[in-house]
Amino acid sequence: MTDTAERDLDETFVDLLLEEHFEQSARAAPSTNAEEVHIAPAAPTSTKAARVPVAAAVLLGVVVVVATVVGFDPAGERRAAQDPDQKSMRAAAYFPLRVGDRWRYRETISDVERELTVATLAARDADGRRVVQLATLGGDEPTFAFWSADERGVCRHTGTRLASDPLPATRGIRFERELPGPIGAHHRWSFVRVLGEQTTPGVRVEAGARRTDAQVDYDAELVSVDEQVDIDGRQWRCVHVRARSEDGARTEDLFYARGVGLVREVIVEQGEPARVRELLRFEQALPTPDRASVLDARPMTESLVDASTAWLDMSANADAAWNVRSEFAVVTAGDSRSVFRLFGEKVVTFDPEDIEDFAALAADEGFAARVGGLSTQRMTMALGWLRWRLHEMVTGERYTSRNSGIMLRGGVATATMEGTMTGSDGARPVVVTAELTGGVPTRVDIR
């Protein structure tokens, strides 16, 4: 039997087990009216999505009322999620890098607590590696770090950017292996961090501070491979790593749980109160769906005869690659071209000339949570880039940028890109403008 046939059969058994499981749970906890909950439509949130027949039906009142959803036990969710990678001692098993994963932490400094969210927002291929953007949200301003994993361990992408810059460095890239694998094979190792980078965990950098060439050498040791960490009554089995800066000024105790990542972090720096970060909740993302399959799920309004699909290139060098997670497909059928935006499992039509569609994109992707520092500027520039690139794909014209700039005033970021648009009827000067107000696109146009 082929692997595919065996997997297909395995899925039929999972189907059977699911039927049995939910029959049992229904018997154990029969639903009552008092337990009724409304399952609101999750997507699409775009106003354009109302054009989609099924979504339209939802908006017209087909809101399904179902009995309560039992078994939503966050502790259990975390417990089971703790070990999805069997007994693997691969370093990558202790540092999940799947887009969409989210960690909610409680950070305590001198009895002052705050909650932070760390999320993997994007992943792109760069220099032959799959580099993942990790954002820390909820602090003074969003900060970003870039990680990758290979057979020898988990690496931080060392570059030359500011902590709040969502773009990785494009020059001087270096990969520092902070968690070598397999776990247990290395008892001592060293790595380097460059000041100015976001560090989660890492070096403290003042918001907006320019980086220097300073770097800090760290010596790390594996303290334990199976240490219990208790957080709010929840137990985690962890790998314990202790890293010390070479000058002895800083010590980090890091506890990684298999399949979950960093569960606890204690940073002690000379003259500073200890900073403790503890995991409150881990939300594991579903595997990223195949974009062609998602696109196939769109409402088929166009003729399929001679239809062709072109995908917007979002390679690591694209301006929007690290700021926009949606993917864009331009479907050509006959004389018409339609743009579709894919986000996770949803697909909606996208009109590059409609500001509401950009607003829906920003809402889906949590732009508001990423406002602050360089992130605001990058997001605004990305919207402008998206606008002219989609224009090119739809019209066949070519845009050449001459000059660009960004202005920040009273919470409004405005990116202006002056250039030339060249088509079959010649070239004309154009200005691409993107405006972001508090994380909401308020203007994205070409004039």
């Binding site: 809101v63 399904v64 769109r298 949803k346």
Partner: protein, 169 residues
Amino acid sequence: MTTKLPTAAALVTDERRRDLERHLRWLGADRHLSAELAQEAMVRLWRSPPDDTSEPRLSSWLRTVARNLFRTAAAKPRPGVPLDDDALLEAAWRRFRARDADGALGAALADCIEALPSRAQQALQLRYRHDLTFAQLAAALGRTVSGAKDLLVRIRRLLADCIDKERTK
């Protein structure tokens, strides 16, 4: 030394009937049809048992009878179950039962479901507990029908992987 052969009555056990019902459920029979066909297979065993009543041959014989009954009933098979390939069905079922000793897979599944994101759990609840059609499910989740189907396929694959890992822990 003499060996006492089991009587037909002794062969007809609740355990065998339940296993048969489960096998029929896997093929695609609903609860009522699987109970009915399993009962019919047990009646046939009662009336004319096979020559070889040792295990695992007897169970295999019963499943063959049950599959023939299911085909005769012309019920819709579960998507992905190759109803026309007895050898494959039998091998797959034996592998499944070996893995599911003492309900290990069900227990692993329960853990794996808890580890899913809440939205995925909701989708499972709607489909499996509340028996929503794909059209209803799509409406509830704000997806297209094929999007809802695709979501469930991916959740099942995720669960299949997770169950494997849970079981080998």
